[in-house]
Symmetry: C2
Subunit: 472 residues, 2 copies
């Protein structure tokens, strides 16, 4: 399926035009000293904390970022390619809470973080994430080390490292380097990605600009994602939000290129309207769907890999609202040509909760969309001329050889969703999809296989985690 | 959004090639005598009940059907245009049961049929349907009259008439003619549509061929919809199913053209895989999504308006499965370029139940998709240059004039889906989307306004309903 083009060329130009004018005339506030100095040294106008960007400079810098790149896992066979519509999915991240039907909703801990790492690994997500749930039982200053370690130890796949400050980003790079063959090795084939969110509108603060610089310097891809809430950090119109999106994403990417030309960067999109009845963000509403589609088009305009969409919802439980919003968003994600999908599985309560059941449900939705993305095979065996013509009008194909030969492989069978007669369903307890999802995540977790780790590597990782925790 | 093209030209040719070969070499069984005679008189090879169709004849006949047409309501201002991606939605139909949270699941009655007519009318669905739920409290032979009357009396919109036999189809035409200005008037601008399902694979039975002929003769559009279940009435491959789909739909449309050249016909698609664990159909699984997309492409190939997709699901309650399957299908419906959408709202339990809550939920999903289909406005007011540049970096737009001026119109606000803090949500009883949907359909029903009917017309309708019921 080709990506949807929702904006006309004229509309794209208008949005880009305003974005570049914002950068030139209004500028961004940059509170990170070294970032300002770097930009000044490359000819940008710095006035106190305000940086005014030259549009030619910005576009030139952005053009240095590669359209595709490889991200290696601790296990090199887990390497993934990003770009060209790669649709690589990673679990939800950044939730202070986690929940499952049996144990209820509770604050995240390192133990639940590890459990969610194992669950995402077992569910087959090709990319993991540190901080799927916050390890709230550990000190804020040092918990990033244990969360990154938890991913490195219990999965062998590439991941999004924790990194809400320059110091934490640097720690994450150090750990990844230990596990993946050293700094030079990961500079040539990166092993982690980092998410840098400007403080919308138009602010690059100390923590995020610092983390962005750290990752870019080390050659680790930066996902530059403005966090736009229409009615709060952006006006209530998509066009205005998209102009901020372009201004903020391109300025962040230009900054990354200023410190390391050619550093991989993703054009990230996160856009939600605010529900004015409650003041809460509503990811999953039509505004997010439209912004996800538009974001993909803008990323392609700049030849950048796109991080957009995800399994987002505002719902507080795994009900019809959660599934409707999530499915809306996942379709937008597919249709936007998204290369990397953060929060693809497990997101609940506007992202405040990492839900075990939601992770299982979303993994199933992704599997359905993967089947749809696979299209339709039209070969002789699929056309089944012999079967249809031999059976003739009025036939049943239930017991035909063709059916018996192929149904297991060709018919999509969901462990979660069943087509059961109501009587059967009632006899089995009239369970909703939430119970089916609960059974499913338990099954996935049981199937989890420890990828193992070399003792020497593990020892060095532990030594580093503990040393840095003491130093923090 | 342009329709998705999921099949290549080569694949389309292979599917069409097999379909036409099936019609020529295998043929269809046609148990309706007059239909066989008509086809024989137009040069088709009739051998007992078997009709072998000439591919040139079929394509020539199909080309006579119009690409677009108007369907008038009892109130001419309710007239709708079908074709060119019109996306006209109608409620679910054919369910023996209905359900709502308060009264539970129960057999349909004329009273609940009328209630669902009012609900679909109040929800703003532009086209209605007779038989949304079966009036199981009335005799099978004559209940179609009361169901059609119930639509005609309590809505003034165009509708899909009941019609599972020639006799019932003729009764429906008679009632529509009374309400809409007479037979000549509805022959020039049709007032009802009929659904003709061949008995897949490749059988046109007495009842359905008869109904098809009756509607076509009267100039009322026929929605020719093969009912394909992969693993039962079709092989387990999409390609095989699609070849049956084309063979059956085109043969039905050719038959309609044989009795009245130029009669409006829709290329209908209904395709579901069978869940081999239970033997139940699974509309909403990836097979249905893919077939819906492919069906749209095939309809466009023949220049025919397309009836495809709908708010289909296999789920037995309004849970995450129901919403996920339905949202998957509604996206496929939009992306297929569907002109007419049957079962767009209210479908539950694989179509066995017309659910009041599901109708409210689906109407909301349709409203969301309508907003998405509307795209993004990029004018000066939407770009909001003054607002963004005046507020500057770090601003909040919550109280800005631009927000206050536009949020009501521009931000999508759902009566069903809310973005509420978990604490608020819990304080309000932690209600799921099913309760919100229950409140919503009650609200819609309260808002229902009787469109009224001219007493003379009503009298004639009642007289006809009662006379024909006696004659049945």
């Amino acid at each position: 399926m080709r990506p949807v083009e929702i904006l006309t060329e004229e509309q794209l130009e208008a949005i880009e035009g305003q974005a570049l004018r914002l950068l030139e005339e209004v500028g961004t506030r940059v509170t990170h000293t070294r970032a300002r100095e770097l930009l000044a040294s490359q000819g940008q106008v710095v006035d106190g904390e305000l940086v005014r960007w030259d549009r030619g400079f910005v576009l030139e810098q952005v053009a240095k970022a590669p359209a595709t790149f490889a991200l290696r896992g601790r296990n090199p066979r887990r390497t993934i390619e990003l770009g060209d519509g790669s649709f690589v999915c990673a679990p939800t991240g950044g939730a202070p809470f986690c929940s499952d039907l049996g144990r209820g909703r509770r604050g995240g801990t390192l133990e639940t973080h590890t459990e969610l790492v194992k669950l995402a690994h077992a569910a087959g997500l090709p990319c993991l994430q540190s901080g799927t749930v916050e390890a709230g039982d550990l000190p804020e200053r040092s918990r990033h080390l244990e969360m990154d370690y938890s991913v490195l130890r219990f999965s062998d796949r590439p991941y999004v490292a924790y990194g809400t400050s320059e110091r934490k980003a640097r720690d994450g790079i150090e750990l990844a380097a230990i596990a993946c063959g050293g700094r030079e090795e990961i500079a040539s084939t990166p092993a982690i990605m980092g998410v840098a969110n400007p403080n919308s509108p138009l602010v690059w603060d100390e923590a995020m600009a610092g983390a962005l610089l750290a990752w870019a310097e080390a050659g680790q891809p930066v996902i530059v994602t403005p966090f736009l809430l229409a009615g709060l950090t952006a006006p209530v119109s998509l066009a205005a939000g998209l102009s901020l999106q372009v201004a903020e994403a391109l300025s962040g990417i230009a900054l990354a290129q200023a410190v390391r030309p050619g550093a991989p960067c993703l054009f990230g999109s996160f856009f939600a309207s605010v529900d004015m009845r409650s003041g809460g963000p509503a990811p999953g509403a039509p505004e997010s769907v439209l912004a996800t589609l538009a974001g993909g088009q803008l990323a392609r305009r700049y030849g950048l890999p796109y991080r957009g969409g995800g399994g987002l919802c505002a719902a507080n439980s795994l009900d019809a609202q959660a599934a409707a919003e999530t499915t809306m968003m996942l379709w937008a994600t597919v249709l936007s040509g998204s290369d990397f999908v953060l929060h693809a599985a497990g997101w609940l309560e506007g992202g405040l909760t990492a839900s075990y059941e939601k992770l299982a449900l979303d993994a199933e939705l992704l599997r359905m969309l993967e089947r749809v993305r696979g299209g339709i095979a039209v070969g002789p065996e699929e056309l089944a001329w012999e079967t249809i013509s031999a059976e003739g009008p009025g036939a049943s194909f239930l017991a035909s050889d063709h059916t018996l030969a192929h149904f297991r492989e060709w018919l999509f069978e969901s462990p979660l969703f069943r087509a059961e007669a109501r009587e059967t369903w009632e006899r089995r307890g009239a369970a909703g999809a939430d119970s089916a999802a609960a059974a499913r995540w338990r099954e996935l977790l049981e199937r989890y296989e420890d990828p193992g780790i070399e003792p020497a590597v593990d020892e060095e990782l532990r030594e580093t985690v503990e040393r840095r925790a003491r130093e923090c």
